[in-house]
Symmetry: C2
Subunit: 247 residues, 2 copies
């Protein structure tokens, strides 16, 4: 298990500073991405095409941040040849930036839907769901980043667990909107804009879950992707394998 | 510029074998993923729920392949501390598996739509488009992997360029299907299954493009993400920067 302390005891002060730098750059990128999700959802709900345009423009900054962090990781890998938990930190960061960049992309897509709704006119349904699921996934992104900042595997686990709730609510919202479209076919195109936005929110939840899984890998050293929530919980709580022995 | 030759001149035969192994594992995973895309599209078009079920089951194998390749990359990073083109190879592989795994996910989603269409009854429209765009993105995946196998930056560039065509045809197909839904609202739910499948195909094209960009990074050493197709072409053809000088 690693903690902040173990990161501060490198022989090379310089190496230490580089690791701290790249980690803080990841968290800064995460903060901006989280704001983008928030702004995109608000732009859609408030029919604010100016805000939506701003989200689309800022997406380039996020792409640039990804490139910079990638270069930092590569430089550290090439020059410092990190091992053990330092290597896991670099791997986790270089994978997390991919998910953060994709979250940024989805926020940008939501902003595009917001602009289309401004042009075509409001959807008669779906705003409550966008607000609700939007809040849920924004919180997931925020907590995944907090978990990264604090090396908190328990918080990461709760983020991964929460993704199931989001998926369920997304499906319910979708079913209702499809029913509505059948009743009022003239609204199909406008309702579809909301459906695409909800789809993007659901994907953002998936990416937040991916980041949470990377935090667990970073802290516990175990790859918990695709193993199911029960086994993930056992890994995080350190009870993995005990069930087998009890059998 | 690297080629197969440069990979065969390592001091350590063992290291050399490890690099070749992980590369061939990536290509094997790619082959299976490509087959999954093909099978998923066929299952949807032929209303073959047995084939669709098989695609869903094989997805676990792909996830396992991702884990194994990831572990191999990590082992090589930790023990061999690769530099220069070897490091780029490992980075490109460890990022490409993420895209391959997501392509597998999208194939699995298409299979789920195929199963739903078997249950709800055929969609009255959209199969021609699924066949057509399905062929296009399958070819993109195949050529991105060929480019990886042969370190062929020119082929990779043509894959990245082709993504624009797919995006355009996807949008056209979508517009037609939305119009159809307005004319026949009772078909909305069935047509939406086809729309989701098309969306997955479009995403598969994006992932193939990502892999192509990683091949260019591997061969040319330049990160060509988010720089636009014109600059990408200049980087691949070695004319980057010349335009600036001419000004």
């Amino acid at each position: 298990m690693i903690n902040k302390e173990s990161l501060t005891h490198h022989i090379s002060q310089q190496f230490n500073a580089e690791l701290e730098d790249v980690r803080s750059h990841l968290l800064a990128m995460g903060g901006l991405v989280e704001k983008q999700v928030n702004d995109a959802v608000n732009a859609l709900i408030d029919a604010d095409s100016g805000l939506a345009q701003q989200v689309r423009e800022i997406d380039d900054q996020i792409n640039q941040m990804e490139r910079n962090i990638d270069e930092e990781c590569l430089r550290i890998l090439a020059r410092r040849q990190p091992a053990a938990s330092d290597l896991r930190l670099i791997i986790s960061i270089s994978k997390s930036v991919i998910d953060l960049e994709r979250i940024g992309d989805e926020a940008s897509k939501i902003a595009r839907r917001a602009i289309q709704l401004c042009e075509e006119g409001e959807s008669p349904r779906g705003y409550v769901e966008v607000r609700h699921i939007g809040n849920q996934v924004r919180k997931m992104v925020q907590e995944a980043l907090d978990a990264f900042a604090r090396f908190d595997a328990d918080l990461a686990l709760s983020v991964a667990q929460y993704d199931k709730t989001v998926d369920r609510e997304y499906k319910t919202a979708l079913r209702e909107l499809v029913t509505y479209m059948m009743e009022d076919p003239r609204a199909i195109s406008r309702v579809l804009n909301v459906i695409w936005a909800l789809r993007s929110l659901e994907r953002i939840g998936d990416h937040a879950r991916n980041i949470a899984e990377l935090v667990i890998y970073l802290v516990r050293g175990t790859d918990v992707r695709h193993i199911g929530l029960t086994r993930m919980k056992e890994e995080v709580q350190g009870t993995a394998g005990k069930a087998d022995k009890a059998e």
